[in-house]
């Protein structure tokens, strides 16, 4: 079997590489520097191990994972991290003191200064208790004290106080990074909210004009169109949920096209080929309607005669592939490129918005694909994964 031969070959290479590396490390051990250098490296390595769990902020899970490494850095008997209200983690010996950790931290939370508590305050009745003194340093972020880090040991040396302060300062830095990450996420969410659901003012104006033209000649039709318009706006302006299903989105496109037909009449021909398997796929809502709107504008508005639009949804394994094609005047490719990269507005703003939202939700490989040339029509393709964490129709 070629597979096993390849595996064997790779295993052999890995073993050889490992042996060579081990030889180099052993032969050039002195290359790693003096004893002081090595101590520095060890400290930096321990710090780098403690950093990732703290990046999620000052949480119970993160603190628990980081505490082991932090205690190793300080060399204390026990280490406690609180957020002022409750104990997040007690790492090390002397568990009997864990319940008092928040009480110990209270003054530090108020003053924001490092405190050293002696044996009298800790008041341990056990004679052989390894916890006799505590050095408690504040953890602060954004100018506020948000927690404390306490090193418990037999005796508090000046060195331990200094080290505790430094470690607490380092933890503060990591937690601030976490806050930064959180605000970045909030910014992305706000961006998404700003991008969502923009129905074009042109469309509202054009629809209302078209409906107005029917009010005298065909009041019944005008009433129906107004109801469709009401339904369309209700869908577009709804507040809850960022996602919908393909079936719902198609229904909204249908209403949109009904209103456009009021303007264009028989000039607008639509053909649909939808695989029923992909109708339940969840997608960011109003992400296909702007593409159809774009197709109507390029396929019909700027030229005489009939224009046709083809909407195709295919079932392709774990994804749905959707394409919307018109046989209209097309767009200058350079103009599309500029619009998608966010420079200059123009007629393709709707597409740029959809592209940005798709990338925001699914990642960069799920952006719009636009095939067009002047006079050759336009085809816009969208790929939607059937499942993506966090994407569910509501």
């Amino acid at each position: 079997m070629p597979d096993s031969a390849t595996t064997l070959a790779i295993a052999g290479l890995v073993a050889f590489g490992g042996a060579a590396l081990a030889y180099r490390v052993l032969a050039h051990r002195r290359g790693l520097g003096s004893a002081a250098d090595r101590a520095t490296f060890a400290t930096l390595h321990t710090a780098s191990l403690a950093a990732p769990p703290l990046r999620a902020g000052l949480t119970k899970t993160g603190a628990t994972k980081a505490a082991r490494h932090l205690r190793a850095l300080l060399g204390a008997s026990a280490l406690a991290i609180t957020d002022g209200q409750q104990l997040l983690v007690w790492e090390g010996t002397g568990d009997s003191h864990a319940a008092e950790a928040v009480e110990h931290a209270r003054r530090v939370m108020e003053s924001g200064r490092t405190e050293v508590l002696g044996a009298t305050t800790l008041g341990c009745r056990q004679l052989d208790c390894p916890v006799r003194t505590a050095v408690i340093a504040p953890i602060s972020a954004g100018g506020h004290v948000i927690g404390t880090l306490a090193a418990y040991s037999g005796a508090a040396s000046a060195g331990l106080v200094r080290a505790t302060q430094e470690v607490a300062g380092w933890v503060s830095g990591q937690v601030e990074l976490a806050e930064l990450g959180a605000s970045r996420t909030r910014l992305m969410e706000a961006e998404l909210r700003a991008l969502r659901a923009q129905i074009s003012p042109h469309f509202i104006y054009n629809s209302l004009t078209a409906i107005a033209s029917f009010v005298r000649t065909d009041p019944e039709r005008a009433r129906e169109l107004l109801l469709e318009f009401a339904d369309f706006t209700r869908y577009s302006f709804r507040r809850h949920g960022d996602f919908t299903t393909l079936a719902e989105e198609l229904r909204s496109i249908e209403r949109y096209l009904l209103l456009e037909r009021a303007r264009f009449g028989d000039r607008l021909v639509v053909s649909l080929q939808i695989a029923p398997e992909v109708l339940p796929v969840a997608l960011p809502f109003l992400c296909l309607q702007p593409i159809v709107e774009n197709a109507v504008r390029h396929g019909l508005e700027s030229r005489p005669g009939r224009g046709s639009i083809a909407i195709v949804a295919e079932n392709v394994g774990t994804e749905a592939h959707i394409s919307i094609e018109d046989d209209g005047v097309g767009i200058e490719p350079e103009q599309v490129r500029r619009a998608l990269s966010g420079e200059g507005g123009g007629s393709s703003m709707g597409l740029a918005n959809v592209d940005a939202r798709l990338r925001q939700v699914y990642g960069d490989e799920y952006g719009l694909v636009i095939e067009t040339a002047v006079g050759a029509g336009t085809k816009v393709s969208v790929r939607l994964p059937k499942f993506h964490p966090g994407v569910r129709a509501s």
Binding site: M1, K60, T61, T64, R234, F237, R238, R239, H240, G241, T245, A247, L250, R251, I253, E254, L257, V269, V270, S271, L272, Q273, I274, A275, P276, E277, L279, P280, A282, E314, N315, V316, G317, T318, E319, E365, R383, P385, K386, F387, P389, V391, R392, A393, S394
Partner: protein, 576 residues
């Protein structure tokens, strides 16, 4: 038994499958009517599609073969294959649909927000898919062997190539209506010949297996043994042997005394009418009266009670872990319609499984010679031609053969697509790349082909049972606990999957490679579900308790979503 009609039927089915695979999408409905275009698949259609995808070689050939050989105990196979959907209906269908997951790895990710659990699930999906593909290839090679006399490895190879071509040409499509049509093709291919056979059977006095003490030939039959076989003659029999018998070359009439004999490879045996058939299966159901009694022992076990319970556990709980079946539930628009489709599946499968059962019973009367060669899986293919002489019988046999071949090709193609999708997405990590998908499908077919060559002696339905056992010991705990127990943690799920799925897969591999035959070791290895499933549940629950601090953050939300009917809005809607 080479008949031109059957060869033509197989060729026709192959060409039709390839054409539908390549051009299937062009048959998609094109309309200008939104109402028509956005109509979702109805539960009834979807149920037909699920059944069409599900009914495989094991159902089509294997069930009848097992009943022919081992009798009433084997009814648990069709019962289990169907009852799995009852468990699915009660506990899984609607919540799974509401979770929004498309595949099982998706479910793991949605419920536990853990990428490692997703990866483990992906590996298990691939393993189960491969185990399920093995019997399909075996069944197809058996069919080709019965029709053309091709050696087993060549038959599987041809089918593997056809399936691969089909998948590569048709890409990743799986069209609900084509699969739904497959169900009805399979029913027709079994039902029409069966009706004619039954009429003929009644006209000839309705002989039943209970009529004779041992399976007895009704007309002279010539049998050729491909491999050397140890046979047990229940009573002394006058036969004509050309070839090696008990180590000596024989060339003419001979009396087989009651007891064990050895027939060499290539030996030809002519069984005159009324001969008690020597049996090559080592079964304890040689006598027709024990054949009719339960708990007499199945293939490769002498602990029938344990084997029966283990089989029930595997099939009842394994259905929910079959990758190619679950993806079909995504087509249902909501949880309610997922439930309705499952009910319809139960009805459709119950109807279907009546057919191979009757085939199995009639085969005991009409094709007892299969007990000598051990190729009992061919019973369905041979029965019509054996009962009805002349061109009509040949034609009906051709129809059954075509149906069987269609079953293998459709199920194998569906499975290959599922497995290669997971391989491309989670192993090669290339979602959109067509090249990755192609390479993945080559791997997805090659490995089961190699296993099928190694495991050619395993009865088809038994091999499928092994796939069920692995599914039941891995995905069943994940789904049931994931949906109904809020304290499941990612570590708990991962260890449960690895321990349960891993041990079951190990037992299956040992079974395939070493063919254990007797004692408790054999029983535990060939039917691993009875110990693997409880073990997997225990490990998952215990580890979750041990790591209860790691409860995934979105647990409450995920559970609420899975259990709230879509008609209830969880959030107030200001515009509604």
């Amino acid at each position: 038994m080479s008949t031109p009609a059957s060869i033509v039927a197989v060729l026709l089915v192959t060409v039709a499958t390839l054409v539908i695979g390549a051009y299937g999408l062009r048959m998609a409905r094109t309309t200008s009517d939104f109402y028509v275009a956005s109509r979702t698949v109805s539960p009834a259609w979807n149920a037909s599609a699920i059944s069409g995808e599900y009914l495989s070689a094991a159902s089509f050939l294997g069930v009848a073969g097992l009943i022919l050989a081992y009798g009433v105990d084997m009814l648990w196979y069709p019962v289990g294959y169907t009852a799995g959907y009852l468990i699915l209906l009660l506990f899984v269908a609607a919540p799974l649909r509401r979770s929004g997951a498309y595949t099982l790895p998706d479910f793991a990710e949605a419920r536990l927000s853990s990428i490692p659990v997703r990866r483990i699930s992906s590996v298990l999906v691939v393993v189960i898919g491969w185990l399920y593909l093995v019997p399909q290839l075996q069944g197809a090679s058996l069919t080709l062997h019965t029709v053309t006399g091709a050696p087993p490895w060549a038959g599987s190879l041809i089918v593997a190539i056809v399936v691969l071509t089909n998948v590569l040409a048709g890409g990743m499509r799986s069209i609900t209506f084509v699969q739904a049509f497959q169900y009805w093709t399979k029913v027709t291919a079994l039902l029409v010949p069966l009706v004619v056979v039954l009429l003929h059977w009644q006209a000839s006095g309705g002989p039943t297996p209970a009529g004779t003490a041992f399976p007895t030939t009704r007309e002279p039959i010539q049998v050729q043994l491909a491999t050397g076989t140890s046979v047990q003659a229940p009573a002394s029999a006058q036969v004509v042997v050309h070839g090696s018998l008990d180590g000596a070359d024989v060339n003419g009439p001979v009396t087989l005394t009651a007891g064990t004999h050895y027939l060499g490879a290539g030996a030809t045996v002519l069984l005159p009418a009324g001969t008690v058939v020597p049996q090559g299966l080592g079964a304890s159901t040689v006598h027709n009266s024990t054949w009719l009694r339960p708990l007499q022992g199945g293939p490769g076990t002498d602990h029938p009670l344990y084997a029966t319970y283990s089989l029930m556990l595997a099939t009842f709980l394994g259905t929910m872990g079959l990758p190619h079946v679950l993806v079909r539930f995504y087509t249902n628009p909501d949880g309610r319609s997922a439930r309705r489709a499952t009910v319809a599946v139960l009805v459709l499968l119950s109807g279907f499984y009546l057919l191979p059962t009757v085939y199995g019973v009639l085969a005991r009367v009409y094709t007892p010679d299969l007990l000598l060669t051990g190729r009992t899986d061919a019973a369905v293919l041979l029965l019509p031609a054996r009962v009805i002489p002349g061109p009509l019988g040949q034609l009906l046999s051709a129809l059954v053969t075509a149906g069987a071949f269609a079953a293998f090709l459709s199920t194998s193609s569906g499975l290959t697509v599922s497995v290669s999708g997971v391989l491309a997405q989670d192993v090669l990590r290339r979602v959109a790349s067509v090249r990755a998908f192609r390479w993945a499908s080559v791997v997805a077919v090659t490995i089961p082909y190699l296993i099928s060559v190694a495991a050619y002696r395993l009865p088809v339905a038994d091999a499928v049972g092994l796939a069920f056992a692995v599914a039941a010991s891995s995905f069943c705990p994940l789904l049931l606990l994931g949906i109904w127990w809020r304290r499941l943690t990612d570590v708990g799920a991962a260890t449960g999957l690895v321990v349960g799925g891993g041990l079951a897969a190990l037992a299956v591999l040992t079974t395939i490679l070493t063919h254990p035959t007797s004692g408790w070791t054999a029983a535990l290895l060939t039917q691993p579900a009875a110990w693997c499933v409880p073990l997997a549940f225990t490990v998952m629950v215990a580890t979750s308790y041990a790591t209860r601090r790691r409860l995934p953050e979105g647990t409450g939300r995920a559970l609420a979503r899975m259990h709230t009917p879509e008609s209830l809005s969880l959030r107030p809607d200001p515009t509604a």
